[in-house]
């Protein structure tokens, strides 16, 4: 079974702290994604990576950065957390969508910024 593991299920941070959200996939997928999920707003793409060291901005990249040093690992970084970044963060991975079309999601990291 494909597994996408998000290292932290629940985090509580203070405003201004630097936050790292880690994601690891075990299927040798080229693509990895970070989404943010908020009630009534659905899933919004923050960043996308289609290869090691490659990244592309999604729809809401402001206040976030990402790192992909190894194929299996994709990290989301909040340089200075703010209360409006309190949310559920979902990592996903896939082969190129034109090949299999399926995104595999982790179980999410719920971040609260006080």
């Amino acid at each position: 079974d494909v597994k996408v593991t998000q290292s932290s299920r629940y985090l509580v941070k203070r405003t201004g702290e630097k936050v790292f959200l880690e994601c690891v996939q075990d299927m040798d997928h080229e693509n990895m994604f970070w989404y943010r999920q908020d009630p009534g707003l659905g899933l919004r793409l923050i960043y996308f990576s289609y290869d090691v060291k490659m990244k592309e901005k999604g729809d809401i990249p402001e206040g976030y950065s990402v790192s992909r040093e190894k194929k299996e690992r994709f990290s989301l970084i909040l340089e200075s957390a703010s209360t409006n970044q309190t949310s559920m963060y979902l990592c996903a991975s896939s082969y190129p969508l034109g090949v299999t079309g399926e995104l595999f999601f982790g179980e999410g990291s719920r971040l609260t910024v006080l």
Partner: protein, 114 residues
Amino acid sequence: QQQVKQSPQSLIVQKGGISIINCAYENTAFDYFPWYQQFPGKGPALLIAIRPDVSEKKEGRFTISFNKSAKQFSLHIMDSQPGDSATYFCAASPTQGGSEKLVFGKGTKLTVNP
């Protein structure tokens, strides 16, 4: 151009009834239309997907209907069961041109009453 509009936001159906969720898109470059199902505390998982070369795809009790000229697609759940209670997301993506970012609708929370 990048939006996928999903309705309704919430839906309550009696056991055995038909659940219908609708989505519309504007970007004619979209050529892949999946539906994802998310149970509480879990990440979304692919339920069923369609490409625009067919007008309908059925998997068990779940059917996607696709209307290319109207740029609309819908999910029908026949004989709805309490175990189908979840949040459903439609999505769309181009699979050519190197930008394979799924755009999600805002989600529909389905409750199937016993």
